[in-house]
């Protein structure tokens, strides 16, 4: 089963690559137009570099300056930097999301009061909250730690990551059937032990996809926040910097995009490992 999954995965990627290069090779120079609307892109070298050019580009120096590192090294470093921030944001988002879900599941009134805000929070554009986070952050002093732009980026990543976790965990914590809840009551145990014995294990099947979604959100949040905050060193700034070079070096802007895809996969994969550990709890749905 596992082997088949891997093969299918590779086939999927290969199909995309083949479609790209075929269209690039055979498609019209000006792209496909429907009226005035271009429905398929131009196939010029500028707009669509060949896939192998993009791969090759990784082996070449970032700039023509002497001593410039390989594009691969540069992208790798930037990816690790962004991944680190995304991981910090994810952790923070998971903690906040779980706590919110806990109080919402405990107190009906808190759920009614809080849930609309949780949903609304996701409609605020990131660009708008970035300066706010930075300004408020600069007022915060924790011991001798000074608020840095990295902290701002992590907080913004957390802002995106907490949402699926809060919603998923809330659904999971409220998922036990009436029979199970009656049973816990008949055992004479209170809210806290019911939480540990029943609600948390029952929430695992809801929690795992939520955590994975949270990881993907944290990666996007980190990369976008790097741009909004203006933090150097990560993929966000690299996307902007490399885009400038597009006219003379069309394959170059694609390098950090692949970096972002890669850390997204790593993040989702790491959560997948968590799923393996929690496997016993994924069993649900006994026939009555």
């Amino acid at each position: 089963m596992r082997f088949r999954g891997i093969v299918l995965g590779f086939l999927g990627v290969a199909t995309v690559v083949a479609a790209w290069d075929l269209y690039k090779g055979l498609g019209p120079e000006q792209g496909v137009l429907l009226g005035d609307t271009r429905i398929l892109p131009r196939t010029t070298d500028l707009a669509m570099p060949h896939s192998w050019e993009m791969v090759q580009r990784f082996g070449e120096p970032v700039t023509s300056l002497s001593g410039a590192p390989d594009a691969f090294n540069a992208v790798f470093d930037a990816s690790m930097f962004s991944l680190g921030l995304a991981a910090r944001g994810w952790l923070l988002g998971v903690v906040v999301g779980l706590l919110l879900a806990l109080v919402m599941s405990r107190f009906r009134i808190v759920e009614s009061a809080l849930l609309p805000w949780v949903v609304l929070s996701q409609t605020v554009p990131l660009i708008a909250i970035a300066p706010l986070v930075r300004r408020w952050g600069s007022e915060i002093e924790i011991g001798s730690h000074l608020w840095t732009s990295e902290d701002s980026v992590a907080v913004i990543a957390a802002y995106l990551a907490f949402f699926p976790v809060a919603v998923g965990a809330l659904r999971g914590l409220k998922s036990p059937e009436a029979t199970h809840l009656d049973l816990m009551r008949s055992f004479g145990i209170g809210w806290w032990r019911t939480l540990l014995t029943l609600r948390i294990p029952a929430s695992v099947p809801y929690l795992l996809p939520a955590l994975r979604l949270g990881a993907a959100s944290a990666v996007i949040g980190a990369v976008v926040a790097e741009v909004s905050i203006g933090l150097k060193g990560g993929l966000g700034r690299m996307v902007i910097d490399y885009a400038v070079a597009a006219s003379g070096d069309p394959a170059k802007p694609w390098a950090p995009i692949f970096g972002a895809v890669a850390i997204g996969l790593v993040a989702a994969g790491a959560v997948g490992l968590l799923g393996l550990v929690l496997r016993p709890f994924r069993l649900t749905g006994v026939a009555p």
């Binding site: 059937e177 029979t179 199970h180 009656d182 049973l183 009551r185 008949s186 055992f187 004479g188 145990i189 032990r193 014995t197 029943l198 294990p201 695992v204 016993p280 709890f281 994924r282 069993l283 649900t284 749905g285 006994v286 026939a287 009555p288």
Partner: protein
């Protein structure tokens, strides 16, 4: 030991307010003696589950008093005086059969050795010793229900509350489970309050059958099966289903259910299904 297992006096339970008000139970008096097997039977919505839930302190009565072994229902629940089983087995799918049965013991701080010993005993009792390590989704409906009964018995309660525990089973499995329940009750000597929709099931299992009617939910009559010449519930064998007293009791319960005056004797020998 002289306290009855259950004593309900003047119990009312009203759901909702105003126009939507439902009188689920009206002026219910019922006593279940220690070690006695009592069934509740009646059409859907007559308040059987409501009464059982009140005894279990899963719900509170609007007025009236319920005591379990002389204690308030709440105290009895906290003291684990009863074990309970529902129509849905309510097993935790992520726990093994043994893990499910030992759950109440674990929650109440019984040590691991003692738990293992008790679980082995209970598995033996319900005939599932080979399935200790299986998960509930690997068992048939009847087996799951037996696990649920074992769990209800885990702390050797003197009272068992059962709400249509065999309701979802086929007729053959059902009769086998009934035979087993009689055996288990004989071994444990527990009192039982048993909710069912099946007249033969109620008569076969019980010392007394309590017939209820809806709107408002109340007790319309009680058939003492022993008075019809059957041995006490805990001493029955599968053959009791063919005895004359069985059919007489079935007829009495049926006429009470249909609201016709006592025509018990004419019911003798009729088909029980």
């Amino acid at each position: 030991m002289n306290d009855p297992a259950i004593q309900a006096r003047g119990v009312h339970r009203v759901f909702g307010k105003g126009r939507k008000q439902v009188i689920a139970l009206s002026d219910v008096d019922l006593t279940v003696a220690d070690g006695e097997f009592v069934s509740l039977i009646g059409p859907s919505g007559c308040g059987k589950s409501t009464l059982l839930r009140l005894v279990a302190d899963l719900d509170a009565s609007t007025s009236g008093e319920i005591t379990v072994f002389g204690k308030t229902a709440r105290q009895a629940r906290i003291d684990q005086e009863y074990g309970i089983a529902f129509q849905q087995s309510g097993l935790l799918p992520w726990r093994t059969v043994a893990g499910n049965i030992e759950l109440p013991l674990k929650l109440h701080g019984v040590n691991a050795d003692e738990r293992r010993r008790r679980v082995a005993e209970l598995l033996e009792l319900v005939g599932l010793s080979d399935f200790a390590k299986s998960h509930p989704d690997q068992l048939s409906g009847g087996m799951q229900q037996r696990v649920a009964i074992a769990r209800a018995l885990a702390e050797s309660p003197r009272l068992l509350l059962m709400d249509e525990p065999f309701g979802a089973l086929d007729e053959i499995t059902r009769e086998r489970m009934q035979n087993e329940l009689v055996r288990i009750c004989a071994e444990t000597g527990a009192a039982v309050l048993f909710v069912t929709h099946s007249i033969p099931e109620a008569v076969f299992l019980s010392d007394r059958v309590v017939v209820m009617s809806p709107r408002p939910g109340r007790i319309t009559g009680i058939v003492d099966v022993r008075a019809d010449g059957m041995v006490p519930a805990h001493d029955r064998s599968a053959g009791a289903r063919d005895e004359e007293g069985f059919f007489r009791a079935v007829g009495e319960v049926r006429s009470l259910l249909h609201g016709t005056p006592e025509t018990a004797v004419t019911a003798r020998g009729v088909d029980t299904r």
